[in-house]
Point group: C2
Chain length 379, copies 2
Amino acid sequence: MALIVHKYGGTSMGSTERIRNVAKRVAKWARAGHQMVVVPSAMSGETNRLLGLAKELAPPKSNDATNRELDMLAATGEQASSALLAIALQAEGMDSVSYAGWQVPILTNSAYTKARIESIDDQRIRADLAAGKVVIVTGFQGIDDKGHITTLGRGGSDTSAVAVAAAMKADECLIYTDVDGVYTTDPRVVPEARRLHTVSFEEMLEMASMGSKVLQIRSVEFAGKYKVPLRVLSSFTPWDIDLNEEAKSGTLITFEEDEKMEQAIVSISKDGKTDFSFTVNRNDYARAMDLLKDKVVPALGAQEVLGDTKICKVSIVGIGMRSHVGIASKMFRSLSEEGINIQMISTSEIKTSVVIDEKYMELAVRALHKAFDLDQPAA
Amino acid sequence: MALIVHKYGGTSMGSTERIRNVAKRVAKWARAGHQMVVVPSAMSGETNRLLGLAKELAPPKSNDATNRELDMLAATGEQASSALLAIALQAEGMDSVSYAGWQVPILTNSAYTKARIESIDDQRIRADLAAGKVVIVTGFQGIDDKGHITTLGRGGSDTSAVAVAAAMKADECLIYTDVDGVYTTDPRVVPEARRLHTVSFEEMLEMASMGSKVLQIRSVEFAGKYKVPLRVLSSFTPWDIDLNEEAKSGTLITFEEDEKMEQAIVSISKDGKTDFSFTVNRNDYARAMDLLKDKVVPALGAQEVLGDTKICKVSIVGIGMRSHVGIASKMFRSLSEEGINIQMISTSEIKTSVVIDEKYMELAVRALHKAFDLDQPAA
């Protein structure tokens, strides 16, 4: 008998029919003898609907008081989906109870709309598990030390699930989502992309920081910090597939025992003139340019600011880059052979990123996927 | 400067445009120097939407565990509308904060879906009022002594508002709704029906118990118990009408100083045979007949059970019935003159009800409204 945490995303909770399927899947795990804690997101579209209403009413400038109310508002989405899941589980004959973040409680700081979890009291959950109940805990939300509701930001339910799993010392945290695992690259760009059976925590972290939407980056950080065994798998397999088969599906995020992250050192020369280049998310481009022109250029006495929106960043990520040489040069050679000009390069211990003309994005991804034999099953 | 509680029903909160109007109205009262506490219902349709989802998932037989989750679910409607109203008030330049029932806290018993308020802690609200904030308190809900969310049943937001007003010793509790007050009878049946400027607490109680939907009966009981000055008025007047005019509109529920309710005595003869007749709500008819046939008839050794669904109950209510004689006989004579047969009669100290064929309902109401000069302004 294991203690298992399931997390279901908004798409998996998107209708009463889907909630019923989640209930049947969870009931299957519980009937197999596992103690089950389930963390659901809001029904898909609900958070956007609520925040859309708020946007029509809100003052032009956001402030702490308004952010507090936005959290009060948005937290209702997960409270509703959690109660519905508990009801669906009861209809399956399972004893079940749902708790809002404040009822657990999941204590956070007071940074409304992007709060961080500080501690989780597991007493109430443990007592219910011991009494044979399936416990539902709302994702995405908590309570600060003054009794105000907080939310963790977009994708925060992943973090809730991992944090609950860490607090409970769960045997595994399963993130059920609308993809069936982590892939070698985006299968929509490269049809040969393969699902990875395992991926290291650090690789997952790099991928999440590069914009992969499979897991929220803070949930990966949390999993790394507390060594939570984490698996990403599909919620769209039939609920009644064999449990042992399901338990091995998707992608497992693994941890090395002796991981050592080296301290990154960033230095900018103070002498003479130099170019300083960096990339930002496309959505932040206009604001970044405004800030550079209004604040940074006068402060630094810079000559000019140049921007380019027609670029994209392509990265290769792999823990093997630590011990294998020639990875980066192989990357550069592959791109060169395709006639793709590299405009910028940045690296970390297990990642190399290049900035290229956005029109070459698909070409570059396909070339690299092939060059590194990612279409071939791992040896 | 007075301490005022406003309550807004679901229709008044039914869209962002209407919520903005509520915010403007509340801001007007706050700017006039009043301390404001506002109790909103969920946006119209929201509670039904949520409970509709639950109905698709729920086990066939309701139980305490499921009712707990229904309350967890339904309570989100008021939490969302309250947060939206706080945001709209902030956009109007008012400092505002919303609290869910559990945050106040509003303590109730554990009778899920029909809980009763036991106490309200007014400290948090008072501190915010003292700091110049408009305080929004979710209607309809509370928390029991084990930390579970409870709801007060349909129309419970009226009770929440009156209970908050009682706890705060508010100067007046204004119930804003989609009708502009209490009428002599249903204006859809009798076009000459007049709005009453005042109605006594006991009359209101009789009307609520007879099915008048203007106020939930428990809110009237609460107002009576704690002598909360209560006014029913329209939320569809323009928000910027003169405050003094608005403050005198609608219908004020008044309290006599020396009210004394006589103890009702119900006796059933044990000797010989007798008929025992009573009425139930049409929705409860089938269940009542089943219970009578399966349980009551065998237990009492009764000969037979007769039922009739083609009836209606028409009542006259008035505190003047205590001191004036001949009211009931005038009622019976009026109905007789219209050829309406009276099948049953029941009375209380300030009410006389008759059961008649349902096809005469409108005719009877119009005849009585005229017979008692209710279409004439009160002397």
